[in-house]
């Protein structure tokens, strides 16, 4: 009996290790930005491109930054949740429209008439929000994805929770789900809003 107990235990340990490994999400890379100040930027607004928005304007408020694009399929999946949150007016939700035109694999940037990218970005992003509903307090345009790099964006959609001092408290990569909203986002927002 004793002869078999150790190989069996080793086997069970291996099984547990592999099961844990399989259940982990490889896209869930811990972000080094959590606990650090949200990178500053100044980007044009979708609704009023001659104006700009900067995260410093949100000082003293708990807010969400959501990275989205009309070509992003999983954004559609999480969109109803965002619309729902916006209706309840939980916290300001700022949209970061990420590489609206050049991120779309079906568009060859080199073939676009020069200088037309920004106009196309505004048209496409605006049309998408008109169709699916606009949960954003405002959306800013990250046309070339440069601000996305500062925020470590690597898979749209991504959502950041930023506190009153402008510190990133949570980063979620991929579509948010109802469980994440009720289990993580709302409790954290309530805690940070105190």
């Amino acid at each position: 009996m004793n002869r078999f107990i150790w190989p069996l235990l080793a086997f069970v340990a291996l099984l547990v290790l592999l099961a844990v490994g399989l259940s982990l999400n490889p896209r869930d890379v811990p972000s080094p930005l959590v606990g650090k100040p949200a990178p500053q930027f100044s980007l044009p607004l979708l609704q009023a491109p001659e104006q700009t928005f900067s995260p410093s304007e949100m000082r003293g408020k708990v807010w969400l930054l959501n990275v989205w694009a009309s070509w992003c399929v999983t954004c559609r999946q999480e969109h109803p949740l965002l619309v729902d949150m916006a209706k309840k007016q939980t916290v300001p939700l700022i949209g970061l429209n990420y590489k609206e035109v050049r991120g779309d694999g079906s568009i060859d940037l080199a073939k676009l008439p020069p200088g037309s990218e920004k106009r196309q970005v505004i048209e496409r992003a605006g049309a998408w929000l008109a169709q699916h509903g606009n949960p954003y307090t405002l959306s800013v345009l990250d046309i070339d994805g440069r601000v996305g790099i500062d925020y470590g964006v690597y898979g749209v959609p991504e959502t950041y929770l930023i506190d009153k001092e402008g510190i990133i408290r949570l980063k979620h990569t991929g579509p948010i789900t109802a469980e994440i909203v009720s289990g993580k986002l709302l409790p954290m927002i309530a805690d940070l809003s105190k």
């Binding site: 890379v29 811990p30 972000s31 590489k99 994805g145 790099i149 500062d150 925020y151």
Partner: protein, 161 residues
């Protein structure tokens, strides 16, 4: 025979089709030193979109953006370690193929070696124990006699008795 060769030749032609039709290689970039450094740095970095590809080898959109970013950092006169920390600040240690040695990565660096030592020690202990058991179960004189008799009986050179 010649027919077989022809078929082989045709098959080869079909297989090499796409590369025959592919465009010419892009001309070498003007600044060769920058490109060399770019390749050296980006080979050390992981593309976060296709996690098993390096930033140098990936054709993902983000990899293109990041290579462009690294190129402009090189042109701005940043050192290799400055560029590395630029990437780590944004994407974490995971972006490096060789993570730094620190508390949270100790298991990653030494885990396999520790595991090997444990396995070797276990094996050694098992072998010693087995040796001891064999030595402890030495045959008695009568058993020895029985064994020799059996061996003699079945030895073909002795013939059947």
């Amino acid at each position: 025979m010649s027919r077989l060769l022809l078929i082989l030749f045709l098959a080869l032609l079909v297989c090499s089709g796409p590369s025959v039709r592919a465009g010419e290689a892009a001309p070498l970039v003007a600044d060769e030193a920058t490109e060399k450094r770019l390749v050296a740095i980006s080979s050390e970095l992981r593309c976060l979109v296709c996690q098993n590809e390096s930033l140098a080898g990936s054709q993902a959109d983000l990899a293109n953006d990041l290579r462009r970013e690294i190129r402009s950092l090189i042109k701005a006169g940043k050192s290799d370690s400055e560029i590395m920390s630029f990437m780590v600040e944004r994407y974490g240690d995971f972006v490096r193929y060789r993570p730094p040695l620190k508390g949270s990565t100790l298991l990653l660096w030494f885990g396999p070696a520790v595991l090997l030592v444990i396995v070797l020690l276990t094996l050694l202990r098992y072998l010693r124990q087995r040796e001891r058991t064999i030595a402890a179960q030495a045959m008695t004189a009568s058993e020895q006699q029985q064994a020799t008799a059996l061996l003699r009986d079945t030895d073909p050179r002795q013939g059947t008795s």
